[in-house]
Amino acid sequence: MMLAVAKAPHMDWSALSPLVALFGGATLVLMLGLLRPRFVRHTLVPLTAIASLGAAIGLAIWQWDRKADLVSAALRIDGLALVLMILIFSAGIATVLLSWRAAAPVEAAHGEYFALLLTSIAGMALLVEAQNTITLFVAFELLSIPLYVLCATEMRRTTSLESGLKYLIVGSVGSATLVYGLAMLYGATGATDFAAIAKGAAGGIGTDVLFLTGIALALTGLAFKASVAPFHQWTPDVYEGAPTPVTAFMAVATKAAAFGAILRLFDVALVDSAGDWAPAMAALAAITIVVGNVGALTQTSLKRLLAWSSVAQAGYILAGVVVSSSLGSKATLFYLAVYLGMNLAAFAVIIARERETGLGDHIDSVAGLGTSRPILAWPMTLAMLSLAGIPATAGFIGKIYLIDATVDGGYTWLGVFIVVGSMLSLAYYLRVIAAMWMRPAVGTELTPAAAGVGGRPALAGGAASDPLDPTVAASEGTRRAEPEVVFVAVLFGAATLVGGIVPSPLFNLINHAGGALGIF
């Protein structure tokens, strides 16, 4: 007698352990958040989240030299996945630190907020491990849906709600495009596995219309998430509206995960048809660089400025993917790591000033920072110089690496676009530096008495968003940002400087990841 036996795939629990740590942490955090004591909700919950992320990092390091297919080859653990996971988890720890005493977890309940964060991080870890189109899409949704909610966690602020809704709608369009593209790829190759798609691509299918449309739509879907122009329009609004710690998280971790997926799909699976998609992607990269930099020029909100800058930076990073060489992939990864450091430093300073001044994220909030708060001004200065690609910062090395890859891959003109973009970007990065060092602080004259007598004093010319309540500014004028926020700013600011002077450790890390890509 025959019995129908469904054989479960072999589970390699040691290789899956970082994911287990995250999902376990998320569950635990959710449960802890239900407890009444303030200590548990305000301290133990974030601590648990950090512990679970720390454990995930530790487990990833434990698996450092593994290269294996997991769960019937639906996932793959290798250097690329591990390096990206460590980057994303580090960004996660920074986000928890920045959220620790923020308004959003209080309004949304601590348990939910941090559980959603951990789930989204788990989705990113899955995404960079994905080895077939199904897991790619599932991971993509797993990282996105908690983010939509996180954007709207400052529930009493309309812009936060608007940001969440906007991100949900635009993100869903992106997801739909992605899944449509993946379906077409399946139609063209008859496979969902990247390996099988790669085989199909190698077999001369590269001029197939179905196949090309599939590639184009998949790229579009991922481009939405990575804020590549012309699919970037949501970025400034969502970045501005979301709670700032969530914005920081989206800017660095989502980008790293999305580019991890782009690398896996394009520079590994579809690398043999690079001749078909690379020119189009090069055009996207060039457009993104120009659009992002031009968009940032006139911004007065620091979050919007960094949103546009992140669009431009996505263009630089994409240039590394375009050349579809091992050098290009490594340059992409290198720049992602550098990008993470400089953006986290900048966002930490913005958060610190939001809490210290009541001017929100308006550029005036950092005016005069050089004299009043040098410990915040220096990390912000280093971050801006690094984003602009000035020597002695990690951003400079990253730019050289990217230009090297583009020239080497026969896309010299794209390398020139990168430097032209850097020129444009100087105009707005220098504006932030000038505000910090070369302008007096705004609102120093705003003593409580003056605010009380004058009603609404003229303040921060033109900034009309609601956090500009002068009484808030006055009462919080002497507040100092919490030490953990300053710590994040100083740590990543210093890392940006050290990475520009002693880049070898970072290169070693990236070489470990690049070895896993196995192209050429």
């Binding site: 050289i400 690496y401 430097v419």
Partner: protein, 488 residues
């Protein structure tokens, strides 16, 4: 002698001073720059004339990108380094005699600026050179933006930074392209020695040369690319301006001799006429503007445009004499322009703070020592026969005469124009009646400490220009001949 010490000492001393409380910052920065000056003189003493590259440090900095931390001194950069350390030492002493808000940060930036400039001058690796070349701008951004003059200083210095970094970033792309094309699929190597042995194809040389030329011409600045100069010069604090005008423009001239001619000889020959015409236009335009403007610091600024025009003229004569003259003239110009800015600052202090020559006059009345020193500087600036500047301009024009005679003839008028604008500045300030609101008083002993050594060096070189020419002739000749070989 370790060149790393020479590079990093100014920044390290300034940083150490900045971390200590009180007035330690200025003491740290000043002593750091003075010791650096001593070290560079030690390099001069130990330098073997015609001995090729010396004092070599060669470490791999970033092996993945083939970037080396390679430093060295030869005849080409020896006197540029001496000029930089001398002028920075003078500026540091000058700045230390004044009071600055947040002075520890001020001196920290000045120290970093000195380190970056010396780094750019000693680097023997293209990527390292580009890094230092870009980096040396950043301290001046902060120095001008925070301690500069006038309400428009931030706008002025932003213009300066964007102008010059546009050039520098193009140079960055060109430098990477150079290394990638030279490596031809092998491991990258950015060192000058490797790149000189692996020259690029002629077509690549042409566009890469243009990118480098853009960076250097903006930095100098020469005529069509000088748009940042008036605003930037007006905004800078005087001590900072002296070193900016005296040293940073020379790094660009050095870049032409070190990089453009030897590495891209075909490009240099291809665009020789363009460069000569730009130089000529700068000489005429700079002279005309220096003659018509009334702001004393802009007179010096426009005269620098003209003088840098002469230097580029010498370089792109692509003859040994021209290149030698360019090196000598770079040193000379740095030596005269820094004390000239110092004197303008003294004059402005006597003219009620105004830097307009119309507000000056008769200042020589009770200040004979100041007037004499100014006269020496002025006569050196206009290349009076007997001065080292005369030798420099003579060699430059000789070189151009041998290669492009028509341009040389037009350029001769520039020599005459120089005496017009220099003497105009001197006469307006020093002679005539004492202008209302002015007071004629002698300079102080402290002023003399800064001014007298610089003037002494000018006089020494006037008597003995061979001191420079002898030590530089081998490398400047070979730089010019690299390009000249293409013509033949």
């Amino acid at each position: 002698m370790h060149l790393s010490l020479l590079i990093w000492l100014p920044a390290a001393a300034a940083l150490f001073g900045a971390l200590l409380p009180g007035r330690a910052a200025r003491a740290g920065a000043v002593s750091g720059s003075l010791v650096t000056l001593g070290l560079s003189i030690a390099v001069l003493v130990q330098f073997k004339t015609g001995g090729g590259l010396q004092f070599i440090t060669d470490e791999t900095w970033i092996s993945e990108l083939g970037i080396h931390y390679k430093l060295g001194v030869d005849g080409l950069n020896l006197f540029f380094i001496l000029l930089a350390t001398l002028l920075f030492a003078a500026t540091m002493v000058w700045a230390a005699l004044q009071t600055w808000e947040r002075e520890s940060t001020f001196f920290l930036w000045l120290g970093i600026a000195e380190s970056a400039v010396i780094g750019a001058l000693t680097a023997q690796d293209l990527a390292l050179f580009v890094a230092f070349f870009d980096l040396m701008l950043i301290p001046f951004y902060f120095l001008t933006g925070q301690w500069g003059i006038g309400p428009n200083r931030v706008a002025g210095v932003t213009k300066l930074v964007i102008y010059t970094l546009v050039g520098s970033l193009l140079m960055l792309a060109a430098a990477v392209a150079t290394a990638v094309l030279a490596a031809n699929g092998d491991h990258l190597n950015f060192t000058f020695s490797f790149l000189a042995d692996h020259r690029l194809a002629n077509g690549s040389q042409n566009w890469i040369f243009l990118f480098f030329a853009a960076a250097f011409l903006v930095k100098m600045p020469l005529f069509p690319l000088h748009g940042w100069m008036p605003d930037g010069y007006r905004a800078m604090p005087m001590p900072v301006l002296a070193v900016f005008s005296g040293v940073l423009s020379k790094v660009a001239a050095y870049g032409f001799l070190r990089i453009a001619l030897p590495l891209f000889p075909h490009g240099s020959v291809h665009y020789q006429e363009l460069m000569l015409l730009i130089a000529l236009a700068s000489i005429l335009y700079g002279s005309a503007m220096a003659f018509t403007t009334t702001n004393a610091r802009l007179i010096l600024g426009y005269s620098s445009v003209a003088q840098m025009g002469f230097i580029v003229l010498g370089i792109f004569a692509l003859r040994a004499q021209g290149a030698q003259g360019a090196v000598l003239q770079s040193v000379n110009h740095g030596l005269v322009v820094a004390p000239a800015f110092f004197i303008v600052a003294l004059l402005a202090a006597r003219a009620g703070g105004s830097e307009d020559v119309r507000d000056m006059g008769g200042l020589a009345f009770r200040a004979p020592v100041l007037a004499s020193l100014f006269l020496i500087v002025a006569l050196a600036t206009l290349a009076m026969p007997g001065s080292s500047n005369f030798v420099g301009e003579f060699l430059i024009l000789l070189g151009v005469f041998n290669s492009k005679i028509v341009i040389a003839i037009v350029a001769f008028t520039g020599v005459a124009l120089a005496s017009v604008y220099t003497l105009r500045l001197f006469i307006r300030a020093m002679h005539n009646r004492v202008a209302p609101g002015d007071e004629s008083r002698e300079m102080t002993l402290a002023d003399g400490v800064i001014l007298v050594p610089l003037v002494a060096v000018i006089l020494f070189l006037a008597v003995y220009p061979q001191f420079v020419l002898k030590r530089t002739s081998r490398e400047t000749t070979s730089a010019a001949q690299a390009a000249a070989a293409v013509v033949r």
